[in-house]
Amino acid sequence: MSDGHHEELGFWRKYVFSTDHKVIGIQYSVTGLAFLFFGFCLMMLMRWQLAYPNQPIPLIGGLFGDARAPGGIMLPDFYNELGAMHGTIMVFLGVVPLAVGGFGNLILPLQIGAADMAFPKLNMLSYWSLFLGGVTMFGSFFLEGGAAQSGWTSYAPLSNIAPSGQTAWLIGMIFLITSSLLGSVNFIVTTIQLRAQGLSFFRLPFFCWAQFVTAFLLLLAFPPLEAAGVLQLMDRLADTSFFMPDGLVISGEALDISGGGSPLLWQHLFWFLAHPEVYVLILPAMGIVAEVIANNTRKPLWGYRAMVYSVIFLGFMSFIVWAHHMFITGMGTAMATFFQTTTMIISIPSVIILTALLLSLWGGSIRFNTPMLFALAFLPMFGIGGLTGLPLGLAAPDIALHDTYYVIGHFHYVVAPGTIFALFAGVYYWYPKATGRKMSETLGKLHFWPSLIFMNGIFFPMLIQGLNGVSRRLADGGATYDFAGAVGPLNRMQSWSAWGLALAQIPFIINFFMSLRAGEKVGDNPWDATTLEWAAPSPPPHGNFTTEPVVYRGPYEYSVPGAENDFTPQTQEG
């Protein structure tokens, strides 16, 4: 397929407005990592306020101006701004771009033996739409009144009456959703149409399955929120009342609006997106972990087919659980029964996937390199995240736990030491493919161990605070309330853990940049892996493969009895 005759592209077309899936994948990854870091910084500021409410922020407190932090003391509006933007940025500009846009673009075409994505220009458009969304979100901090401050959920009517940062948030979201929609169409078509000869669906690596199902979630779940975003924009700019009921009185003034809308409509539209979104965050992570575990146990995944069926079922079910976020909005028994039943059902395929990954360890010859450490840590951390979802998914215990720190602890276990650890595993694992060099193992371990400890130092106490009844999104961490007093001091330990976690990222940052120049040079297949991406040169040239790959076997043929090596690549004949 590579005829060796390419027009040489200039710098801009080659590295900036590129249509090459690898360049776009790296653009996505770097954007995602940068926003993860930025979102993390927002959280570190919040953690000061939670640990030391209403005390001046040391050293940098003067930088935020009198509108946000007079005398260095954080105002509640500033806290809410940080909270809303931390959530939005981590989900929509951090994890999704890295997990789907980054790894999906970089790895999926290689793993299926394609020369590029099916629609390279659509791919470029998708990245630049994300970029505009990111610029809009980032720029909104400089608006009068600051960025959005009504939570990442932007519940109406609070969001409808919020300052102009909310308008920017909505416009930013429309760009981000558009980006995901364009990307999802591309992933679906690419996976169906461009698989190498011999690569049947049940020879696809689990990572490709995870990305494939994720693409359907993006395609089907995002349009409702895009619509909802436009409706809220109309409410704010054109005085419509989609989410505004009659008779609102704000600060003593009766609102002059047509009324007749429903605040709960927003929540339904939002969660119809945002629950599948949870699986958009977790499925690619499971895919990465599966690849790394198969490679480093030197044996096939246990229950590959059961995992594939589970991930498809998970994708389907994720569309009918959304209202378990809304049990206490006044739900009757019939609705509550439906949504808690579907929620219990969706836990089963998650349990099957996690069990399959755990059982895959049995009989292995386990190598503890940095990607494997992150992938292994994913299992118990995601386990805690999944298990703590149980009492929240059941309506009765949710009465006590809803909107408390228990929820925050739960989903952070899923997304932070869960998904983000898996993403780190992916960075360490595929870095050699993208750059031709390996990252340092020493720095990698220096990154892993403190990160694991500090992550738990932040999130485990949240579960205890939540059981104590402490509400989320309190600008003083609950200091107002007596019942929260007993668990208040935990906030200091959590905050110090958060700042420790920041220090633990320094080895990663050094490693990431230093290894570009100083990392050990490696060949095509440094991990002795079986899947197709390792049949391409490192880094792959334009068009990816020097000869068109043909697939003869399943994805994880490690330690095949009688085979010459302990890995048999998918391209090996016979």
Binding site: L158, A254, L264, T329, L361, L390
Partner: protein, 275 residues
Amino acid sequence: MMDLFFPPGASAHAAGIDRMVDWVHVLMLILFIGWGAYFIYAVARFRQGKNPKANYKGAKGSASKYAEIGVAVAEVILLVGFSIPLWADRVDEFPAESDSVVVRVVAQQFAWNIWYPGADGVFGNADPSLVDEETNPIGLDRSDEAAKDDITTINQLHLPVDKPAIIHLTSKDVIHSFNLPNMRIKQDAVPGLSIPMWFVPTKTTAEMREELKSKPRYADTADEFVYEIACAQLCGNSHYSMRGFLTVHTPEEYQAWLDEEASYLGGGEEEDFWN
């Protein structure tokens, strides 16, 4: 088990919710410890140094299948045996209004307006156009006959012990959430909707103070204990301080409190007269 963490319960249904949270956590602990022990054992036993050659076939046997079925069965029990009945009890089994104290709560940025129907037991009319933040935050129409004896307070909910309380919850502006941690009550206050909920407080504030003196964790502050109302849904910049109070009285004290409030009402009207 979770008593260790939960705020002390003080309503008739609190024990049921707490027991359910206990059972879910027992299941979670069993699973986590089981998986965790297996995980540590597997990682140690099958490390490359100890097991240089991997086994292509891997795990055999059907223990995992039984574990998965076990999880499914446990979830069905939790769902059908506990969660659905507890929920139905909360939203379908309302006591008769005649046997209950009926109160309306109107949330606003950033306070809880508590509204009693007064001696006639009938809530008067209210209109958003009559709202005055200083004197009439819920826009009560005092010219309405039924409204004349209505009692309103800000952030002070008073209830008699052992009698069902039915609360009709709404909001003037944005969504709030009415959270009584000790009562295991949490309900969103949604503008445009009036959502009913109910509970039976089982310990007066005074009884609770006595009880807490015997608990080391609370003993120091037991004398100042109050039932707190917290906002659980982000509602704006002072969400963190939207704090209300519930006082649970003996029936006699409750009547005395109502009478006292009613007498202020008369006083207010006289002042209007002289103005």
